[in-house]
């Protein structure tokens, strides 16, 4: 029996194969159902897996739970500060690798990519020991907020800037250096050329890289757990503690808030990257 094609359908129209559509749908359910249920149950009156009625009480409780509230504030503060520096450091590293020929370049390339591949937990404990041995762990404890978060911020910059560098560098590869020459030919200085030609060209990658750094920072649990001293708890660390004690709808409420914040930031950044252009 000959396999026949449907009218108007080519042999490569995989997106219209029923089994692929079914798989796609199933995966989407798998990906989103847990999150949807988490959000839905943040409005449930009790913590059972059964719907017992709608309430905002969990949100009110989470809002008034100082520990959750300040953990969230800490997380966002850390993410903002570390994103700022990661983006700058990452862009500078990318520019170095893109623009210059230098001895042992290949080694250096791998060197700055190390935090991407080394398991988080190893990096976490090494930083933990580093901070306690140098006394930074205890020193910052009594510093004024947000300086008491400085160790975490340092750690976050260390693991996020290599990601930014990768994103920015892959964009720079497509840069036509004749544009630079044209700019200089028209009388612009090196710095003016950099600001007026190169930076606008890098912008989509800077936005994408910053978004990545922000998410990585907000997301990080393992490294933060080890590099945070007592008293400087971040949101994931706090949630982890609560999860360990059992299910509580305050977790759902606070998580929902964080999901909304990250997704809003993501979609906003994607919009800045231009219509229909995913962040990668």
């Amino acid at each position: 029996m000959r396999a026949a094609l449907k009218p108007g359908q080519g042999p490569l129209d995989y997106a219209r194969r029923p089994w692929i559509i079914a798989l796609f749908a199933a995966v989407l359910v798998f990906l989103y159902a847990p999150i949807a249920s988490l959000i839905a149950f943040s409005f449930n009156v009790d913590k059972s897996g059964v719907w017992h009625g709608f309430t905002f009480l969990n949100y009110v409780k989470a809002w008034h739970n100082d520990q959750v509230f300040y953990a969230l504030i800490n997380s966002i503060t850390i993410a903002l500060i570390s994103t700022f520096f990661s983006t700058i450091f990452g862009a500078m590293t990318a520019l170095t690798l893109w623009r210059f020929r230098f001895p042992m370049k290949h080694v250096y390339e791998n060197f700055v990519a190390l935090p991407i591949v080394v398991p988080e937990i190893c990096m976490g404990i090494s930083l933990s020991m580093f901070f306690s041995y140098t006394g930074m762990m205890s020193a910052v404890r009594d510093w004024i907020w947000p300086l008491n978060l400085i160790n975490i911020i340092f750690a976050h910059i260390a693991f996020s800037f290599p990601f930014v560098a990768v994103v920015v560098r892959s964009r720079l590869v497509g840069f036509n250096r004749q544009l630079e020459e044209a700019s200089k030919d028209l009388g612009a200085s090196e710095l003016q050329t950099f600001i007026n030609v190169l930076v606008p060209f890098m912008m989509p990658a800077l936005v994408a890289g910053a978004l990545l750094a922000f998410t990585l920072s907000l997301d990080d649990f393992v490294i933060t757990l080890f590099s945070s001293g007592p008293g400087s708890v971040t949101f994931p660390v706090k949630i982890y503690g609560m999860v360990k004690r059992g299910v509580d709808m305050q977790i759902n409420a606070a998580s929902t808030v964080l999901i909304v914040i990250t997704l809003a930031a993501t979609l906003l950044a994607m919009k800045m990257l231009g219509p229909g252009k995913p962040a990668h």
Binding site: A4, K6, P7, G8, P11
Partner: protein, 361 residues
């Protein structure tokens, strides 16, 4: 004539959004033809070729290949093979593996594969490069691999999608001859898609000119050039001066017409015209003379030379006749330098009405 090898019947291809890439096309292609689908980009010629190969399917209609309706048969079960515009030579295989691929995946015996691959490589003169990988080859060589890879399957029809477009000018001429030679040697029907009229005219035995998803005319190269049916075809194949004309009188075999620029004259035609038509005159059918030419039937008008473009063997002259620009081709057959006319010169443009055409569509 025997039964056509390919018979396209009322084929329509509609893309999502309601755009009809191919609109109710019917074409018969005979055994052993070198057939060209010619048209501007977006005219549906490539889509039609892809529907013959099975890489796309029509929304409606039938495509008979060797007498069997294969409109919805997957490409791997069709007796057609394609030479892709990008060649699509597999980068992870050697030349030999590329050519053997189509035989291997259809379970041809290893001995036979070896023999046929050697033959095919011989035919395209690539035997010495059998072990090469495609990234070590030039564009022209890769195209030969693509050709050998398709021909080794001994298809009933070989489909070529813009085969010369990616080659540089010199190589293109060589390949044009090569393709004609190959087609005669292997005796397979070739269908070529091209946007280049020179390519189609010089290689094909018959040409279908396509426009906006439909077939404008199917004819031999000479007929297309000398007897275009529509303004589109006249304009697309070669250069042409198109003049609006009012029809004064319709006789059985001639009409009398009046053009604003060149005045009144009679033209031979079988067509029945309404009150208006278009008169088409090829640039090489127009003559330039310093003195008013003598000849009862010649139509003649004074003109001023606006521009002369020198092309070596010919010069393309723009002549201004009462504000209308006519293009005239002049053979540079003396060595005294070009067309012998210069910008601003006053001159006479003349032609024989026998050489003009009446177009109604």
């Amino acid at each position: 004539m025997s039964e056509p090898i390919i018979s396209i019947r009322n084929v329509t291809k509609e893309f999502s959004g309601g755009v009809k890439a191919v609109d109710n096309v019917s074409i018969d292609i005979e055994q052993n033809e070198f057939f060209a689908l010619l048209g501007p980009s977006g005219c549906g010629k490539t889509t039609l070729l892809r529907m013959i190969s099975g890489l796309e399917t029509p929304t409606s209609g039938q495509i008979f290949i060797g007498g069997e309706d294969m409109a919805f048969t997957p490409p791997n079960l069709r007796p057609t093979n394609m030479v892709f515009q990008s060649y699509a030579v597999f980068p992870h295989m050697t030349v030999e593996q590329n050519v053997a691929y189509g035989l291997k995946v259809t379970g041809v015996a290893p001995d036979e594969i070896k023999r046929r691959v050697a033959e095919a490589l011989e035919m395209v003169k690539l035997s010495h490069l059998a072990a090469r990988k495609p990234d070590q080859m030039s564009g022209g060589q890769r195209q030969r691999v693509a050709l050998a890879r398709a021909l080794v399957k001994r298809p009933k029809v070989l489909l070529l999608d813009e085969p010369l477009s990616a080659l540089d000018a010199k190589l293109r001429d060589d390949m044009r001859l090569e393709l004609t030679r190959l087609q005669e040697t292997v005796g397979i029907t070739f269908i070529i898609v091209t946007h280049d009229q020179d390519e189609a005219l010089s290689m094909a035995s018959r040409i279908a000119v396509m426009n906006k998803g439909g077939v404008a005319q199917i004819a031999t190269p000479a007929d297309l050039y000398e007897q275009p049916k529509t303004k589109f075809v006249a304009d697309f194949i070669g250069k042409v001066n198109l003049l609006d004309a009012a029809i004064l009188r319709q006789n059985t075999k001639t009409i009398s017409c009046n053009t604003k620029v060149l005045g009144k004259f009679d033209i031979d035609t079988d067509k029945t015209c309404g009150s208006e038509a278009t008169i088409a005159i090829r640039p090489e059918k127009l003559k330039l003379t310093v003195k008013k030419p003598i000849g009862a039937k010649l139509v003649c008008k004074p003109a001023i030379i606006k521009d002369v473009a020198y092309y070596g063997d010919t010069s393309h002259v723009i002549a201004d006749v009462d504000g209308v620009m006519l293009e005239v081709n002049v053979q540079n057959d003396s060595r005294t330098g070009g067309a012998g006319v210069e910008r601003g010169q006053k001159i006479f443009v003349s032609f024989n009405p026998h050489d003009a055409l009446v177009l109604t569509e």
